[in-house]
Amino acid sequence: MTIEQLKAAAADNLWAAIAPEIMIGLLALALLVAELVLPKKRHGIIPLISLSGLLGVFLGLLMNFRPLDLGGTTFNGLLRHTEGSQFLRVYFVLCALLVTVLGIIALKKQKMPKTEFFSIVLVITAALMLLGQAHNFILLFVALETVTVGFYILVSYTRTNPLSLEAGLKYLILGALSSALLLFGIVLLYGVAGNPAAYASSTNPMDFDALRVFLAHNPDNFLASVGIVLVLSGIAFKIGAVPFQIWVPDVYQGAPTPVTAFLAVASKAAGFALLMILAGVFSSYSGLVITVLSIMAGATILFGNFAALTQHNVKRLIGLSGVSHAGYLMLGVIAALTPGVGSQAIGAVFFYLAAYLLASFAVFGVMTHLAGSNDSDQELDHYQDLVKTHPFLAGVLAIGLGSLAGIPPLAGFMGKLFIFMVAFKAELYWLLAIAVVGVVVSIYYYFGWIKAAFFAHWRPPLPADSVADARPVRAAVSLPFGVLLGTLATASIVLGFYQGPLGAWLLGR
């Protein structure tokens, strides 16, 4: 490339378009600097710096939700900014805010370096935000790897806990495998679409637009089909869809609770963002994509729900129930591939993700607060009589779990309703039948958890040789955290009653 060509290319770089990501990246560095500069006893304010920075970005994004260049691409087609990507940016920043709050609470119970945790959360967030705007396989892969590498560290963050280390190792190996699958798929697609001998080949086959045009002209290329399936498999790892779900229970149990929440919500949402972006790119292969996703979705719903039935550890339980949620969401993605249902189905998926965020963080918040010093050891038994000792926490837990179970009048129900409606429109009757079975089964374990917290229980007498009760001590809830949990629970209720402009915007398209 000559200087002129580089200059011409650079002219398309619109740095203002990614100002939020840049700011979050700078914030991550600022935290590290703050740790060096500030005296040790002032380190408590580092997470607060992170929180206020994130809050600023969050408000900034909301105020400038529809920038002028919406719908266009920047950075020579690396990024494409849409209403959906703007939604995801807000979503990921909100996740980061909540994870940071949970991190503050969880890290108090551990003797661990603290600043790095918050810093890595920020780096992951910036990468997730870019991922939601990806319009090119190179950018997609780099952003995804940034996210995954960040998670490798976070999952094994409590390094004194063998389960956390085991989880980190599992996530590392399986994550690497999934990256390899994804990369191999990308290479295959690059190879077929970039082959100059092929009809309608492209000089820039990493670009989604170019790839879509190529695929539309070659609707039954075998290598492209293999590539598509491999790319989908790589993403299925991230969202924990069957048969790529094996890592979920162990990693969810071993990872510190805030990281579990981050994985469950943000990482899953990123996977679905990619699926929806790629669904558009692979639209000429929609028959293949629908078949693959349908099989995965059915198996995911059934496996997630039935495997969660037998769990006693709440982190494993919520991990496996999260697998089933991935299945319901895939229903929405499949519906989005059906002509005539498309944009409404995408709106339904977004609404489901929003409801899932509110409910999950309510539940994870309660879990984080109640966890003892051994973060992996959170059993259903530990929730006994919660309604007597902490009625507020029990209420938040019940609302969060009820919303996850899809019980009206909570937001989770509306999410399921929208997904079911678009799936009906797309005539996915078999998957709907499976989903109904899944919902009914899920009632058993979600309400089993509520039962543990609410209904009076017979408690086994302590064994003679034990010194004290192994159950962790329950502390009182601090006011700001209580307000936060209350807000999450209220939001779940309000969004169930009144979807307002959000509902009209997401589903009216």
Binding site: Q344, G402, I407, P408, P409, F413, L417, F418, F420, M421, F424, K425, L432, V436, V439, V440, I443, Y444, F447, G448, K451, F454, F455, F497, Y498, Q499, G500, P501, L502, G503, A504, L506, L507, G508
Partner: protein, 509 residues
């Protein structure tokens, strides 16, 4: 009279607002006053809307007191909080107000643990019930039902009697399955009718214009019949009901067996049969046979009970068979009978549950073999109980309204199914046998040894005034409408005349 406010919205919001107020730390007397007010408002509004129904009736739509509130999805999905009463829902709305007030007043005098929480949940249930019958929009009809169901589940689990945890779980799983199936049925109608709206008026209009394919009607009615059937304990999906009623606290049994369960029958009469004439014609014979299963088989099971509360529970499940039989006739006569029967059944069953608990408080047991001779100690209770038993048998007199309902159903059954009416008539004999036998065992004869022993340590009093008032409220309403059913049947006739011609055509073979 033109109301200066929306009476239907107020009837829904008042109990919910009262429930919210109870969260505040108030002295017990204020708590009770607020709760009483929350129960009183819907009942008063029920009577007011009944009295002023004719004057407010809008001839174009056939609904009175119609208002539409947009919750954000009206334009996007055709879902809006559309309230209104027609001739079918007005009697139900009135009945649920009255039963709610009786159940509330009865709950006020109980010595439940954490009374504030108990009353709050009961108020939530009441708000949901008023919403069920005030909704013109099918989505909100379903939504309010689930709303009331959650409160039911928690109350059974927290304040229930024997086996409450198991009963609550059993009930929730069954009812979720029923609710999910009927939701699928409703979505099927929504999508296949092409109306893209859950508004019943729009749906009716659209289906009258466009029609609905026979296959879609078959599936939709099948889903609704089984789904709603589970909710109304249609044989053989009834097993949750006696178990649940046996375990539930009395006010909850009153509201659930009396009112909430009518959701399913009401849904069939108001929505499924008029909208799906071909589907209902195909399923009606099967429904009639299952209804006979309720009447005969469960009637015999009720006869075999020694536990009074179980007997009342089975008796209530048995009687809903009449409702299904009336629905299966698919004509205005049968449907009209079902609505009158539902009102009568709601009032008499809740009266029975109330008195059963009052008997328990005097004898300390539900086992009828351990009672006897109670009439000497509690003559008023005996008189009330006899009234309730006679009403539930359907004898003219106290049970005049039950009589009108059952008579109409029998006439419709004879007209439509011929000799099938014989086993249905057998049900009257069965309920007379178990009812009068219970009367004899509990109140007449010599006191059993166990009851004498119980009297040594407990003073047995007659029905106190705070128990008499709710019971009298139910009895007077029942007798009043029995003597003067025209005020209910005239608007009912008018609505059925508008709604049912479609099915009359389908019945002709």
């Amino acid at each position: 009279m033109i109301f200066p406010f929306d009476p239907l919205l107020l009837a829904i919001v008042a109990p919910l607002a009262a429930a919210l107020l109870l969260i505040a730390p108030l002295p017990e007397r204020v708590v009770k006053a607020i709760a009483a007010l929350g129960f009183l408002v819907p009942a008063v509004l029920g009577f007011l809307t009944w009295w002023h129904y004719g004057a407010n009736l809008d001839a174009g739509t056939g609904y009175a007191f119609r208002t539409v509130y947009d919750t954000g999805l009206r334009d996007a999905l055709g879902i809006s909080l559309h309230l209104g009463l027609n001739g079918i829902s007005m009697p139900m709305f009135l009945m649920s107000g009255v039963v709610g007030l009786a159940a509330g007043l009865y709950a006020l005098q109980t010595k439940a643990e954490r009374l504030r929480f108990y009353l709050g949940l009961l108020l939530v249930m009441q708000g949901g019930l008023m919403g069920v019958f005030a909704s013109v929009d099918i989505f909100f009809f379903y939504f309010f039902h689930e709303f009331a169901l959650i409160a039911t589940f928690l109350m059974v689990g927290l304040w229930g009697g024997k086996d409450r945890s198991y009963a609550a779980m059993n009930m929730t799983i069954y009812l979720t399955l029923g609710a999910m199936l009927s939701l699928l049925g409703f979505i099927l109608i929504y999508i296949k009718s092409g109306a893209e709206s859950f508004d019943l008026i729009v749906l009716r209009h659209e289906i009258a214009q466009q029609g609905l394919s026979g296959v879609a009607q078959n599936y939709a009615f099948g889903l609704l019949m089984i789904g709603l059937g589970i909710l109304v304990s249609l044989f053989p999906f009834h097993t949750w009901a006696p178990l649940g009623y046996g375990a539930a606290p009395s006010s909850v049994s009153m509201l659930h067996a009396g009112v909430l369960k009518k959701f399913g029958l009401y849904g069939l009469v108001q929505i499924a049969v008029p909208l799906l004439p071909a589907g209902s014609a195909a399923w009606a014979p099967a429904l009639a046979w299952l209804a006979l299963g309720n009447i005969v088989i469960l009637g015999l099971v009720a006869m075999a009970q020694r536990d009074l509360k179980q007997m009342v529970g089975y008796g209530s499940v048995m009687h809903v068979g009449y409702g299904f039989l009336g629905v299966a006739c698919l004509n205005a006569l049968g449907a009209g009978g079902v609505v009158l029967f539902m009102v009568a059944h709601g009032l008499s069953v809740s009266l029975l549950f109330l008195l059963t608990t009052s008997i328990y408080h005097r004898t300390g047991t539900f086992d009828m073999d351990d009672m006897g001779g109670l009439v000497k100690k509690a003559p008023v209770l005996a008189a009330f109980f006899l009234t309730a038993i006679l009403a539930s048998i359907g004898l003219p007199g106290p049970g005049l309204l039950n009589f009108w309902g059952e008579l109409t159903i029998f006439m419709a059954t004879y007209e439509h199914f011929g000799w099938l009416v014989v086993p249905a008539l057998l049900g009257v004999v069965i309920s007379a046998i178990y009812g009068l036998r219970a009367m004899g065992k509990v109140f007449y004869g010599q006191p059993s040894a166990a009851f004498l022993k119980h009297q040594e340590s407990n003073v047995v009093t007659d029905l106190r005034w705070n128990e008499r008032i709710p019971a009298l409220l139910l009895i007077l309403t029942l007798v009043g409408f029995g003597v003067w059913p025209r005020t209910l049947s005239e608007p009912l006739n008018k609505t059925l005349g508008e709604v049912y011609p479609a099915s009359a055509a389908a019945v002709q073979k």
